[in-house]
């Protein structure tokens, strides 16, 4: 196994095989929940909101890319907190992998690759359903692949680092409430960022979710807001240091 691609794919295959045995458990939160959220908010607010402030296309059209990006965000955090932590503690998968010719980098990148696959499957199904209902054009099904993959890596990198760093899993609910929920509410998912005080826009501009929402929205609408490159650079700025911290944390945890 001198080929790094083969090694990364081996880790990816391990997680895929595990997932193929347990995927039913994630069916509802991955596929049903985003549709419920779209339907619930779209139905409740559809006719009430000022369409002009939303870009003129109506609330549901505004909501769809936001909910998609937020769902990928949730999945990437979900796959990288408890599962990663349990592979160090409860199950010991990573210790077993370390005893093979695999390197630390293969284990981490194989995990990222698996998160990307999950993101793309969820995105494809969700966008296909809303496209069939006529809310977005059919070509959006493939157009959302690059932004969704980008969000998946930019979130999985720091989240995996967290999963490898903490010594107790009771931190994850805290992260869920103190990081995931506020970010979901202030990243332009449910309403444009311009509706919030300017300080929120500044904070959101530093976090990966808002940039992910923006590129997903651009991909669905087949339009760019002129900041595409900046959005991708910010996602990269989360992915690269995230990977570096992962490498340090994995190396330390698997040293003995």
């Amino acid at each position: 196994m001198s080929n790094p691609v083969a090694r990364i794919c081996a880790v990816f295959e391990l997680q895929l095989r595990f997932h193929l045995r347990t995927w039913r458990g994630g069916l509802f939160s991955a596929f049903v929940l985003p549709l419920i959220v779209t339907y619930g908010f779209g139905l409740a607010f559809g006719d009430e909101l000022d369409a002009h402030a939303l870009g003129g296309a109506g609330y549901v059209a505004f909501l769809i890319p936001g909910v998609l990006a937020a769902t990928i965000f949730e999945i990437a955090v979900g796959e990288s907190t408890w599962p990663v932590w349990s592979r160090f503690t409860w199950i010991g998968t990573y210790h077993a992998l370390r005893a093979t010719p695999l390197r630390i980098s293969d284990i981490i990148l194989g995990h990222y690759l698996f998160v990307v696959l999950r993101a793309l499957v969820v995105a494809t199904v969700y966008v296909a359903v809303v496209a069939a209902l006529g809310f977005v054009p059919a070509r959006a099904v493939l157009a959302v692949w690059p932004p969704c993959a980008g969000i998946a890596v930019a979130i999985a990198a720091p989240a995996t680092a967290l999963g490898a760093l903490v010594d107790n899993d009771s931190w994850f609910p805290v992260v869920q409430r103190a990081v995931v929920l506020p970010l979901t509410l202030t990243s332009g998912v449910f309403f444009p960022l311009a509706e919030l005080p300017p300080v929120c826009a500044t904070v959101a501009a530093l976090t990966p979710l808002w940039h992910g929402v923006e590129i997903t929205r651009a991909a669905v609408g087949n339009a760019t807001d002129g900041g595409t490159l900046v959005h991708w650079l910010v996602l990269l700025a989360w992915a690269v240091p995230g990977y570096a911290v992962c490498h340090i944390a994995f190396s330390r945890r698997l040293a003995t």
Binding site: T22, R24, G25, G26, L27, F28, S29, V32, L33, I36, V37, G40, F41, L43, A44, F45, G46, D47, E48, L49, D50, A51, A53, L54, N168, S170, W171, P173, V174, R177, A178, L181, P182, L185, T186, F190, F191, E195, L196, P197
Partner: protein, 260 residues
């Protein structure tokens, strides 16, 4: 009866000890306090500004926030009681088998259920207090309305906890919490929480009457508004009946699990 209460308190006390022992325990409880405030900031400011369509009955952000605030108190009660009485309760019943030890003491299945119910309710109401105080301070409802909201919250927490226990005793494994989570989210979205129930159309509004959370939200709004009539009394009666039935089911299933 006195010894019964002592044993119920012991079940509550075990949960308090557990929370204190886990490093992120208090922090987790603390973050629950901020949940209604976050929703208020996010949806109140964000969506309130956009309210202006023909169907909207809201004059602006302030009026929408007055509509939203009591529902967010109810939402935080739903969130805390669901976590405690579904995921955490299941883990104690089946995974880490806390109750296998507890049942060896004089504690009965009913006292275990009542203890968990009391614990979840107290935690939910305690974590709702800061949010309610903030909303009253912002003038979203009066201070007497705030007291009313907390009283209704306690009642709602007891009912929702009982229903949570009654559902969780039938969970076949961790994967069932996926369904419970989606049902919880659907109840949150389709119970007139973020927008008036009528917006969803007549059919959806009728179906929503089957959700206990619809009545919890309506009762909390009635409490902050300071009006309480026959409709509210009927809601209280319905919720209480559902809670009693759920508690009885929970007691029976806990007994079957632990004493079989």
């Amino acid at each position: 009866v006195r010894y019964r209460l002592v044993r119920v308190a012991a079940v509550v006390g075990r949960n308090v000890d557990y929370l204190r022992a886990s490093p992120a325990g208090w922090l987790g409880a603390l973050t629950a306090c901020f949940e209604p405030m976050l929703y208020l900031g996010g949806f109140g400011y964000g969506l309130g500004e956009l309210m202006g369509g023909a169907k909207s009955g809201f004059a602006g952000t302030a009026e929408y926030m007055r509509f939203l605030a009591p529902a967010l108190v109810a939402a935080s009660i739903l969130s805390v009681t669901t976590v405690e009485t579904t995921f955490n309760f299941y883990s104690k019943l089946r995974a880490i088998q806390v109750y296998d030890a507890v049942i060896m003491t004089p504690c009965t299945p009913l006292e275990i259920a009542a203890g968990e119910l009391a614990w979840a309710s107290l935690l939910a109401v305690a974590s709702a207090v800061p949010g309610v105080a903030l909303m009253a301070a912002l003038g979203l409802f009066s201070w007497s309305g705030a007291v009313g909201a907390l009283v209704v919250s306690l009642f709602a927490a007891v009912c929702l906890s009982a229903i949570g226990l009654g559902v969780t005793v039938f969970a076949r494994g961790w994967q069932d919490f996926e369904i419970i989570g989606v049902v919880q989210y659907a109840m949150l979205l389709f119970s007139g929480t973020f927008a008036p129930l009528e917006n969803c159309g007549r059919v959806a509004a009728t179906i929503a009457q089957l959700s206990p959370f619809t009545h919890v939200v309506a009762l909390t709004r009635a409490a902050t508004g300071g009006h309480f009539g026959w409709v509210e009394l009927a809601r209280v009666g319905g919720l209480a009946a559902m809670a009693m039935a759920s508690l009885a089911i929970a007691r029976r299933q806990i007994a079957r699990t632990l004493l079989a």
